[in-house]
């Protein structure tokens, strides 16, 4: 029992303990994943929406890697999402029907684009980065529009067919396979990201975010570190896009639209950036709010969405997770315990 306790709560007074603490899985995290799986049986009618949430969470996770941990602001993260979607769609249309292989290839292609463009993005200030990322996304969108013989242009790419996942599970109209597939991919990539940000490399990224000049003076090869994380994040976004293309078996120009990049930024702000879970919580809150409000008032729901977003950003620092942290601290003070770790 005490061994279990020291696993979850390492002694934070020692350096190794303090570094290990955030890397340990908390009971609540494990509970979350179990709950996500249990929704198959608890909410079978909502798996289609859950599938979209999982995809959006993965996309937001990818943005969190560069924005929350490395401090690279981006308004064009949708470029990698869209590229992944188109690669996966085209593979599905032209013969490669295996979803997992398609996913890996799409992620790889998006990562390659991330690697190439990272050198452009890492020049200049935050404002320059915003513009360059935006520009890359716009260029990609226009290319997809112009090469309509390949991409289907503004009509979208039809005729995408997907084989069963791992040769076993066919995609069904209820979206069960789709959700299981997306959730599994999200879990694996979340696990990897979690390992990554808690590794020494992840700590270096945070040092660079804190003060890149000083990190450089300490001997950290800042550019190289940032190139690596940008490439990884691009691959993540590509896989998220590929998931969307494979589970909806359709790709339209919309995947490269500006609103994708803007939405994912909103999700991260809503959930709280720089803590991985912010991406997941943000995606859940964002999609549920959209779905709920749009069902009540199909015409004016965007007004309410806007209002809620403004309120959350104004009232809470660090999004929903920030709210949660503040509430917890307040409660702890009231109970006179001092902060509970």
């Amino acid at each position: 029992m005490s061994a279990l306790l020291t696993y979850f709560r390492p002694d934070t007074r020692t350096a190794s303990g303090a570094l290990l603490a955030p890397a340990r899985w908390q009971p609540l995290e494990i509970l979350f994943w179990l709950f996500a799986v249990s929704l198959f049986w608890l909410a079978p009618s909502k798996v289609l929406l859950l599938n979209e949430i999982a995809i959006l969470a993965l996309f937001a996770l990818s943005l969190d890697l560069i924005l929350g941990y490395a401090g690279i602001v981006s308004l064009g993260h949708g470029a990698f999402f869209g590229l992944g979607a188109y690669v996966a769609g085209l593979l599905g249309k032209h013969g490669l029907h295996d979803p997992v292989a398609g996913l890996l290839i799409s992620g790889g292609v998006a990562a390659l684009l991330g690697f190439v463009t990272s050198f452009l993005v890492l020049r200049g200030s935050d404002l320059t980065k915003l513009m360059v990322t935006l520009g890359v996304a716009l260029i990609l969108r226009e290319l997809a529009n112009k090469f309509s013989t390949i991409t289907g242009g503004a009509d979208g790419l039809t005729g995408v067919t997907m084989g069963p996942v791992l040769g076993l599970f066919e995609f069904d109209i209820f979206g069960k396979t789709a959700y299981a597939y997306s959730l599994a991919v999200l879990f694996i990539l979340f696990y990897i990201a979690r390992r990554l940000v808690n590794s020494p490399y992840g700590l270096l990224l945070r040092a660079i975010k804190g003060n890149s000049l000083r990190a450089g003076a300490m001997g950290v090869p800042t550019s190289l570190r940032l190139v690596i994380i940008y490439t990884i994040a691009a691959g993540y976004a590509g896989i998220a896009g590929a998931l969307l293309a494979q589970t909806s078996q359709f790709v339209s120009l919309d995947v490269l639209d500006f609103h994708r990049s803007a939405d994912v930024l909103l999700v991260l702000v809503l959930g709280g950036s720089g803590q991985l879970w912010g991406a997941v919580v943000g995606a859940i809150a964002f999609k549920i709010m959209y779905d709920f409000l749009a069902a009540i008032t199909p015409q004016y729901w965007q007004f309410w969405v806007g209002l809620v977003l403004v309120l959350i950003v104004l009232l809470g620092k660090g999004g929903i997770l920030g709210f949660y942290g503040a509430g917890r601290d307040w409660l702890a003070n009231r109970l006179g315990k001092g902060g509970v770790r």
């Binding site: 955030p22 908390q26 609540l28 995290e29 509970l31 979350f32 709950f35 996500a36 929704l39 608890l42 909410a43 009618s45 909502k46 289609l48 929406l49 859950l50 979209e52 529009n145 309509s148 242009g153 503004a154 009509d155 979208g156 039809t158 109209i173 209820f174 979206g175 969307l244 909806s248 078996q249 359709f250 339209s252 120009l253 919309d254 995947v255 639209d257 803590q275 879970w277 997941v280 919580v281 859940i284 809150a285 549920i288 779905d291 749009a294 069902a295 199909p298 015409q299 729901w301 965007q302 929903i320 997770l321 920030g322 709210f323 949660y324 942290g325 917890r328 902060g339 509970v340 770790r341």
Partner: protein, 390 residues
Amino acid sequence: MKRRHLLIAAAAGLGLLTSAGAYAQQTVKIGLILPMTGPFASTGRQIEGLTKLYMAQNGNMVAGKKVELIVKDDTGVADVTKRIAQELVVNEKVSVLAGFGLTPLALATAPIATQAKVPMIVMAAATSIITEQSPYIVRTGFTLPQVTAPLAEWAPKNGIKKVVTLVTDYGPGHDAEKAFKEGFTKGGGQVLAELRVPLQNPEFAPFLQRAKDARPDALFVFVPSGAGSAVMKQFAERDLAKDGIRLIATGDVLDDDILNGMGDVALGVVSSHHYSAAHNSPENKALVEAFKKSNNMRPNFHGVGGWDGMHLIYQALKKTNGDADGTKLLDAMKGQSWTSPRGPVMIDPETRDIVQNVFIRKVEKVNGELFNVEFATVEKVKDPVKAAKK
């Protein structure tokens, strides 16, 4: 980390989402998926308004069944349309899917209709190929080649020999461009240039300048519903009329929804389409009046597609005696004919596309408001693309 406990709250929120799938056999549900927000919201508002008006006028009981309309906003994004359609079929068990404001939205949803064996009524999207994507698709709107071909025939007979075409760069635009060129060159005309503007955030000025430089007799324009005002404004600002260039268009450009706001620059513009709010028939007069009273708007061509879509569903239900089985409903829809506010229409049993009269109209002032006044009729036009394939 301490903040993670919040996840419980988020997770509990998810649990609340589980919806009750209770559904009575005596209800026939219709899932109406429309762009209610975003750049194509006017299409959604029109169709929603007129389908609801139809139900208000005709009651919600058909052949002993209660008809229930479920309206959903897809914001004009294809994967959302598809997901909503899937949810409506799986969770709400709708008997009919309807709406579909843009071609990609209809194309994305087509496999759902086939898989679920549910009739899918396309009320607005107008690319010819849509009905070929699923045997369950029925169209009550129009196709672009259908309304373009009559204008292409009319133009060379009325002193227009050289034309520049300007269309929006997506399915319906390509359809319009092709149909116009075919008909126009057959009639002895010559197309000097074919210009395409992007669907999102179009900027017409440079294209109109190029059209002006080519010195045609007329400029043929297709843009989707809503974008017409910008074209008219630029056409006037660039002074194309002064160079003797006429403007001819499909009726989408002179959409009744926005026509009156365009001002006098629109006067005299000739277009071809299947519906005008000025159509002279008792059915149409009643509709225009009722819609003005209920929504304070003029019905436009998309709205009429919605109106007729509802009528078709009602007719089919009557024919099956209230049996809402998808395949039976579909069969009952094929070959239906009725007098719509736009004139006599029929669902072609082979192509499931609508057969209707197409009118050549000219913008005139009637009682101080701008209207497309019809002056020539081409009767019973089928979609020429599918007719040519046979």
